[in-house]
């Protein structure tokens, strides 16, 4: 009861906040909710981990006394007297918890990762220590796991034909770096197109999305600079920040008060010990957070950034293509100008069905990166057929291929997102994140339910992603669905039906808010109201 009230207050606060406080900033309703974990569930989750840990110790004890066979790979005999490569407690979690549900990850597929996917059947005869492939293929699994937002993961179509042509002309690799002999005409073409797509002066493309962050942030900031990073930023941003040598401070997820306080304190107090003013301040945020399904409060971030003269680095890995009326990402979603974002970063892996990453921004920025980016100097450039896939898919989204296909896909994704999220909420699941985010986390909480949910869904021919600690806080294990424009209504309905069934089976319907369907209004134009049950 107390929780419900707290939750309701919280939601009200959020709503009030954006209406009253930021009324001028947001041009559209910003509905984002993180329902509080019910107390009983939280307690049971901790108990679950406790039991697992106890059993872990028991089994480790049995392994030590050779009562249970130890399946771990072991050190070479010759090197037994070396310092152990792994600390024992590091592996405790893997050995005793992860190993129980390991079959829910790394499932090998053998088809294009589209809306439906074929999976190689595998079995384990030793409780997930090893897998054997039966040779059978599980056909037509509905794929709710891949980041195929716009459905460009296809094996046939204009993009693939174009890529095939480039492949036969150029070959697969490049064998050189951008600064040496690996700057192909295709790369130049791609970068001009990306700049046009984003509405920025210039852009540069890199071979790997992860490395785009980790190799470029060090080129932008260094010692004497401050990085303000969202607590839930992706590992690549964290690594890049760490490699840069700048001071890093963390603000609460999407919490503008926390960000403002840090900004104010940083400028007022300067660097610790030396008391010199900071050289520059860089704010690192993501467009859509891939584990929370939340969308960054970009209008407020930009207002703060301007007020405190800092720079903004926006990682659009999940939002580019997936948000905004024409797929231009989170900047377009809020109706803002790309000029207000200093560094526009994104990847080609997700919406474009290719690989690699980009950075867009002012010409001076890109020129600087061309000369000083670690990636341009030391890493092999993008593979030509991959480049071609990006070019064709991007042109399709922009409508430059002469069709409406791209735009229709963006709309389809938005519709699918609203529909799917709403239906799940109606069923009574706790769903995190923004109502427009195609990343949909469904809370499972208890460790045993992670594996159970993954397995039960696969039994019903639906492929889902489940995540637990350490990717999430220890009690907030969840399943994650990624919607795609390629999902048809029938597929979504099938998936929803199965999720509903499994939800009942595993008792996952934790939510204590009941949605009141607003039948007189179409679901995509309004927000829902919450009432106490």
């Amino acid at each position: 009861m107390k929780n419900i009230n707290a939750m309701l207050n919280c939601t009200k606060l959020v709503t009030l906040n954006h209406i009253v406080h930021n009324g001028g900033l947001y041009k559209r309703p910003f509905n984002e909710a993180f329902e509080e974990t019910p107390m009983l569930v939280a307690v049971l989750t901790y108990v679950g981990y406790g039991v697992l840990t106890l059993f872990g110790y028991l089994r480790d004890f049995m392994r030590q006394w050779k009562i249970e066979k130890c399946q771990n790979a072991t050190e070479r005999e010759e090197q037994k007297d070396f310092v152990p490569l792994y600390q024992d407690f590091e592996n405790f979690y893997n050995r005793n918890l992860y190993m129980r549900i390991r079959d829910s990850w790394n499932r090998p597929i053998c088809s294009v990762p589209g809306a439906k996917v074929d999976m190689m059947e595998r079995v384990s005869h030793d409780y997930n220590w090893t897998f054997t492939y039966t040779g059978r293929v599980i056909k037509d699994i509905i794929n709710m796991g891949s980041y195929n937002y716009l459905g460009f993961a296809q094996k046939a179509g204009t993009c693939q034909e174009a890529a095939a042509k480039v492949l036969s002309q150029y070959g697969a690799g490049v064998c050189s770096t951008r600064q040496e002999m690996g700057n192909l005409d295709k790369h130049e073409e791609l970068e001009k197109l990306v700049a046009r797509f984003l509405g920025v002066e210039s852009a540069m493309a890199y071979g790997m999305g992860f490395a785009t962050n980790s190799m470029n942030i060090p080129a932008l900031v260094g010692k004497g600079c401050l990085i303000l990073s969202d607590e839930l930023n992706h590992a690549s941003l964290v690594l890049g920040a760490r490699l840069s040598g700048a001071t890093i401070r963390i603000f609460k997820h999407n919490n503008m008060q926390s960000l403002e306080k840090l900004l104010k304190d940083a400028i007022v107090h300067g660097q610790p010990r030396t008391r010199r003013p900071w050289k520059k301040i860089l704010i690192l945020v993501e467009g859509i957070y891939s584990m929370e399904g939340s969308i960054v409060r970009l209008p407020e971030v930009i207002a703060l950034k301007k007020k405190y003269k800092s720079y903004l680095y926006l990682d659009e890995a999940h939002s580019i293509g997936a948000l905004g009326p024409s797929g231009r990402g989170v900047v377009e979603y809020f109706g803002l100008s790309p000029e207000d974002v200093d560094v526009m970063m994104g990847t080609f892996t997700k919406s474009f069905g290719a690989a690699g990453g980009y950075i867009g921004g002012k010409k001076e920025l890109i020129d600087y990166l061309r000369t000083y980016s670690h990636s341009a100097v030391y890493a092999t450039s993008l593979s030509p057929p991959v480049v071609e896939q990006i070019i064709t898919s991007m042109k399709c989204i922009m409508g430059e291929d002469g069709t409406n296909v791209g735009k229709a896909r963006v709309q389809q994704l938005a519709e699918n997102t609203r529909y799917f999220r709403r239906r799940l909420k109606e069923m009574g699941f706790i769903i995190y994140g923004n109502e427009d985010s195609p990343v949909v986390p469904l809370m499972l909480y208890m460790p045993a339910k992670i594996g159970a949910f993954g397995r039960e869904m696969l039994k019903r021919n639906i492929g889902v992603v489940v995540v637990g600690f350490p990717a999430t806080p220890i009690i907030e294990s969840r399943a994650r669905f990624c919607l795609s424009a390629a999902h048809t209504k029938e597929m979504l309905d099938t998936a929803l039906k199965e999720i509903n069934e499994v939800g009942d089976l595993l008792q996952l319907k934790y939510s204590r808010h009941r949605l009141v369907p607003l039948l007189d209004r179409p679901f995509d134009e309004t927000t829902y109201e919450e009432t106490e049950d």
Binding site: Y86, P108, V174, L243, K350, Y368
Partner: protein
């Protein structure tokens, strides 16, 4: 038992004191007690409180603060600003900035980039899987081709297991921090490539540099550590130690003395990580790299990492070794866990390239012979010296003497490279981030030596052009560095040679009449 009641215990002495003590004494004590209580409850004295800023002052400070620009301006004539534009495929003959050249500048050692078999394998994969994988390995980004490639690489290298990454640079840069953590010690050759440097930085370990290929220096450091360990055996028991070396050094073109390293490994109980991007698919009878070259049991190396972007002419990288070690990266290798997996068509291309390497082991001899030939032919150019092993597929040419500053050297070498390009030979200057490299300063780069990387092959032509370029700029005191490679088919070599000599003749005519 009543006498033990606390009230009685307390009350009795107080009553006694009140009865026998003088009044002024009681008053004084009362004041003292009150004062102690006040002291206990008063706020602790804080320095900051005195310097607290008013909101207005804070605002003024914020108003006052002027940050540096996000990036400093880049001079318009910065040598790295205008990339060479390669139109069409980057194979043996390439079009650089509109000019057709013989390519000595890319790492396509085995000529597999435009191999038809490789291309058709990649095509077949494209038809089946499309281009992207749309997910990391954990979340439906593992394809059957990835598993096959890992198995094939492990088999090829004769190790228990292999793991693939989607980016060559990220391979060793992720592998090192997966094992070496804060407090661990890494002994690393100071000429180590940039990817290793970044991996070490990410690991936050204690880094000890030893002089390039100097085993005595390494042993000195190991001994120092040993004495240190004896002082603090408890800490020593949990401090992991690693040696990180390259098989064939990217920055210098020479090989690491692996047999000695192995001896040191067992003597001082240090693990060895070996980066083989340049030596994999090049050295050894079957192209297995430096371990095969020296005839060393591959199990003596704890981890081998290489990229698939050179010999295999694909994209990505791999690590191989014993399962005990490699498997750990599947949960701890950042570039593995958090990045989308390798596009299947590139994995298929790598598998086909492995097939070709397994079916034609003599290509490695051909490559070696070509490297040695070029190495020999490049000797004795005045002003230039060839650095590195004779069998290295990348030759560094460097100035025998620096002409003063690093900047001038770069300019001079650029003119040589430009001259060669005009003569139909594409070379490249090895690029470095000078500022960044300093974090692990290799004296070679520090003294301002610049390399021209030559992905070279063909015999005479190439030295001739270099000689001519030296001749052409004889007003400078000049020395340069180069590196060679191979063209696979003999008819290619003759064809290119013909083509090249014609180009040279053409240039010579121009040279005689003009300029």
């Amino acid at each position: 038992w009543e006498s033990f009641l606390p009230s009685q215990v307390l009350v009795q002495p107080v009553q006694l004191i009140c009865l026998y003590a003088p009044a002024y004494h009681l008053i004084l004590e009362g004041i003292l007690i009150l004062w102690i209580i006040r002291l206990l409850f008063s706020k602790t004295y804080k320095l900051q409180e005195r310097s607290d800023l008013t909101p207005k002052e804070k605002e003024e400070l914020i108003e006052e603060w002027q940050p540096e620009p996000l990036v400093p301006p880049v001079p318009k004539d910065h040598p790295a600003l205008n990339y060479n534009v390669v139109s069409g495929p980057p194979t043996h003959i390439i079009t650089v900035n509109g000019k057709e050249c013989i390519n000595f500048a890319s790492f396509n050692f085995l000529g597999l980039l435009d191999n038809e078999k490789v291309k058709s394998a990649a095509q077949a994969s494209l038809k089946k899987y499309g281009v992207g994988t749309c997910g990391p390995r954990g979340f439906y980004g593992t394809f059957d081709v990835h598993l096959e490639l890992e198995e094939r690489l492990a088999k090829f290298m004769r190790t228990e297991e292999a793991i693939i990454y989607s980016y060559g640079f990220a391979t060793i840069a992720s592998a090192i921090p997966a094992y070496s953590k804060r407090g661990d010690i890494v002994f690393v050759d100071e000429a180590a490539c940039f990817a290793i440097q970044k991996g070490l930085q990410a690991s936050r370990s204690n880094i000890k540099l030893f002089k390039h290929n100097d085993m005595a220096d390494l042993e000195r450091l190991l001994k120092e550590q040993e004495t240190e360990d004896q002082k603090n055996p408890r800490k020593a028991r949990v401090t992991r130690r690693f040696i990180v070396v390259e098989g064939l050094y990217m920055n210098t073109g020479d090989v690491c003395p692996l047999p000695e390293l192995i001896k040191l490994k067992y003597k001082y109980k240090v693990r060895i990580f070996l980066e083989e991007s340049l030596s994999f698919g090049v050295l050894g009878e079957h192209g297995r790299g430096i371990t095969e070259h020296f005839g060393i049991n591959i199990d003596d190396i704890d981890l081998i990492s290489a990229n698939m972007e050179n010999s295999l002419a694909s994209i990505g990288g791999f690590c191989c070794g014993r399962s005990f070690i490699i498997d750990h990266q599947r949960l701890s290798g950042q570039g593995y866990c958090f990045s989308a997996s390798l596009p299947p068509l590139l994995a298929a291309a790598a598998i086909e390239a492995l097939n070709i390497m397994e079916d034609n082991p003599d290509i490695f001899q051909t490559l070696r012979a070509k490297c040695e030939r070029i190495h020999e032919l490049l000797q004795g150019i005045s002003g230039l010296k060839v650095v590195g092993e004779s069998f290295s597929p990348a030759l560094h040419l460097q100035l025998e003497e620096s002409c003063g500053s690093r900047e001038n050297d770069v300019k001079l070498l650029k003119r040589v490279v430009d001259y060669c390009m005009n003569s139909g030979i594409a070379l490249t200057q090895a690029r470095y981030l000078e500022k960044e490299e300093k974090c692990l300063p290799p004296p070679r780069t520090r003294t301002g030596q610049i390399c021209i990387e030559l992905d070279c092959c063909l015999g005479f032509l190439f030295p001739q052009i270099i000689r001519m370029s030296v001749l052409h700029y004889s007003d400078f005191t000049l020395d340069i560095q180069v590196l060679p490679l191979m063209a696979l088919k003999p008819d290619w070599v003759t064809g290119l040679f013909q083509y090249g000599t014609n180009a040279v003749r053409g240039r010579m005519l121009n040279f005689g009449t003009g300029e």
